[in-house]
């Protein structure tokens, strides 16, 4: 039972992929398309790592899309100021971490619910990004940062572009952090029952601050990947992306009431959404069909999850 539910998202992924492999054109199941799917999943997948921690702890972070936009703007501006690519990337990621830290600080100090706080910072951070970029795209000199998610040269031995490898490594690290470390266990405990966590001497506020900072950091890294996709800093990019990220976590078994979710599940959830998008577009189905299918998948995933819980 437990194992089945753990792998349910993975089964869902195979089912959706298999469906399109049968119904769709041959090009869908080509190796090249697999690589494209992986590339297109990298941004949402990376942001979903931090969101998984937040949702497992019983919170929510709506500011992800805005943080991604601010990060692209910051990186582009840094490159324009002749900073070296790694330094620019680091500054961008740190800005993301800072946004997350501020979220966490407001949530823990003023005891405002995360939904409201991050709804506020969603607007606030987006505003800062637009102000910083004077409401237009910031061109950046071409550096190797833009190769992070570039299509691979034919026959390359490393299979995926570096950005996808980054996601895979980060996912392994986050999954390990959650399952095999003290703070990881504390995060699950806070989401499962905050009163119990307090009773056991867990520093709930400090842990929450850490969670939101990590979520900001993962949004910052997603922003770096977004920048490499765009090659410019764009303050209007990734509007509404937080909903894709939340959907990925929820499809992957995350519960908005906390205590449940997995990193593997969230990445698989992000993959499921890309597969649907890719499959629908290759079958020549219009955009609105994709949206309807994705919507049905989200609701089904959660409804099935609830049913399973009721059986217990």
């Amino acid at each position: 039972m437990n194992h089945l539910s753990r792998f349910a998202p993975l089964l869902g992924l195979f089912a959706v992929y298999g469906l399109f492999a049968i119904l769709g054109p041959d090009s869908f199941s080509s190796g090249r398309n697999l690589e494209t799917i992986a590339r297109q999943t990298a941004i949402v997948g990376t942001a979903a790592l931090g969101m998984t921690l937040v949702i497992i702890a019983g919170g929510i972070d709506l500011s992800v899309g805005s943080i991604i936009a601010l990060t692209t703007v910051t990186i582009a501006a840094s490159l324009q100021a002749d900073l070296s690519p790694p330094v620019a990337a680091l500054i961008g990621i740190l800005i993301g971490a800072l946004c997350g830290f501020v979220n966490g600080l407001i949530i823990t100090r003023f005891r405002v619910v995360p939904f409201i706080v991050t709804l506020g910072t969603l607007l606030l951070v987006r505003g800062i990004a637009k102000g910083l970029a004077s409401e237009q795209k910031i061109d950046a000199p071409l550096t190797y940062l833009i190769d992070l998610l570039a299509a691979l040269p034919r026959g390359a031995w490393w299979i995926f572009p570096p950005g996808v490898w980054l996601l895979i490594i980060l996912a392994l690290l986050t999954g390990g952090f959650l399952a095999y470390t003290r703070p990881g266990k504390h995060i699950v405990a806070i989401g499962s029952n905050e009163n119990t966590a307090r009773l056991c001497g867990i520093r709930v506020e400090a842990t929450k601050l850490l969670i939101y900072t990590l979520a900001g950091t993962s949004a910052g890294i997603a922003g770096l990947l977004q920048f490499s996709r765009l090659t410019v800093g764009d303050p209007t990019v990734a509007v509404g992306l937080e909903l894709d990220v939340i959907a990925a976590v929820v499809i992957g078994g995350g519960s908005l009431s906390g205590g449940e979710g997995s990193v593997l599940g969230s990445v698989v959830g992000a993959l499921i959404m890309t597969v649907i998008r890719s499959g629908c577009s290759q079958m020549g189905l219009p955009n609105w069909v994709q949206e309807i299918v994705t919507g049905i998948i989200i609701v089904t995933a959660v409804a099935v999850d609830r049913l399973r819980h009721r059986e217990r």
């Binding site: 390990g176 399952a179 095999y180 470390t181 003290r182 266990k185 504390h186 699950v188 405990a189 499962s192 029952n193 009163n195 119990t196 966590a197 307090r198 009773l199 056991c200 001497g201 867990i202 520093r203 205590g259 449940e260 217990r312």
Partner: protein
Amino acid sequence: MSIPKHPRFAMRGIRKTFGATIALDNVDFAVSAGEIHALIGENGAGKSTLMKVLSGALQPDAGEMTIDGSPFAPTNPLQARQQGVAMIYQELSLAPHLTVAENVLLGMEITRRGLLQKSDMHALVQNALTELDHADIDPHARVSSLTIAERQIVEITRALSVQCRVLVLDEPTSSLTRADANRLFRVIQRLKDRNLAIVYISHFLEEIKEIADQFTVLRDGKSAGSGLVAHTPIPDIVHLMVGRQIDDFFPRSNRTPGEPLLDLTDLAGDPLPHSASLVLHRGEVLGIGGLIGAGRTELLRALFGLDPIRKGNITFAHNTARATPAQRLTQGMGLLSEDRKDEGLAQSMSLANNLTLSCLPRGIIFPEKLYAIAHQWIYRLNIRTSGPAQSIADLSGGNQQKVALARLLHHDVDCLLLDEPTRGIDIASKADIYHLIDQLATQGKAILLVSSYLPELLGICDRIAVMYRGRLGPARPVDQCSEHSLMLEATGQEVTA
């Protein structure tokens, strides 16, 4: 006082079981119109179950009920309400964001062509409040701005507005000041004059003496006795409440108290307790008796750093500063919560995760490491489970409680604050826990035990102090205490021993 021939409502031969537990066994209970009838009993005696049957929240397995002579068998609370049975619970059920008038007329708003007739509604409610001698409550005021006492009146007004014939008041004065309680008594007297049948549930026997006409005592789910309040002295009522044999399953090894570990002087929390002083020694089990709501749980929570402290001093293991729960655990103090479900254990986590949560190993944690720890405690405490990975929610209450205790033992704390450690668990687990407590005390741990179960306090404690309305009395050696003296102290009577 003349008693009418037909009671307003009568319950005959009511029986209710939950699994193997017999909550109510052949209970008779009847109240006449214009009578205030006190329903008395210890915690768990069956009072709330009986009232849930009356209010339609539970259906009896056997027995029948009548209201004004006609059969009454509600299948849900709404039906009972429509037939005139209203309950006022300890936790009030008003919508705090609505006004007094909106709350009183909730579901029966006065409308004309779909529009609310606000002035009519306010006038109606104002009249109803004036009749209850509470004209000072403004029908326009939001309920959230009212005091607890005022909210109670609003709730009673609501009950009256649906033509109630039977009014049940559950511990109405437990959170009221003396002045507010007196005012409530005058309201209850007026309701009596209006020929309502009133069931008054209270632990405070002096209140019952003051207000009730008749009383019925429940004990272990049976009617233990009933009669006229005026003809029955309080000690006799207490005897009816507790009169049972003390079982022989309380072990007590020869213990010698060691050095003082915990010392508090005049501790006050926010809002409870008002004042508590005690000294707890190593190798000692100190019991705290009293009624639910007296402030015992709040005392333990304040000690452990979960609730704020208004004033007073705590010295624990030479630490005098205020501390957080994390610091208390480091200093060697642990708390067993009275609420296993919402606080004590994280229900969606596994046994092993719950057991090790307060002191997880550092570095990389492999599940096998936690399972090894859990296995050890499963064996030592005789926990019935399919294994350390089993979800806590799937264990029985007794086994859950053992896991919560095992967490404190695994943390190896010196001082255990145990809040109702055996509430709602099976006899076998109870016996195991009593043995464990005895063993811990013999090993030199200090144990502060809050319990509402008198035989348990008398059976395993070395000394017992009683809390009454937020004030902790002196700790007496257990041989100077009896169920009788504890119950008298818990209900605010002078102990003449």
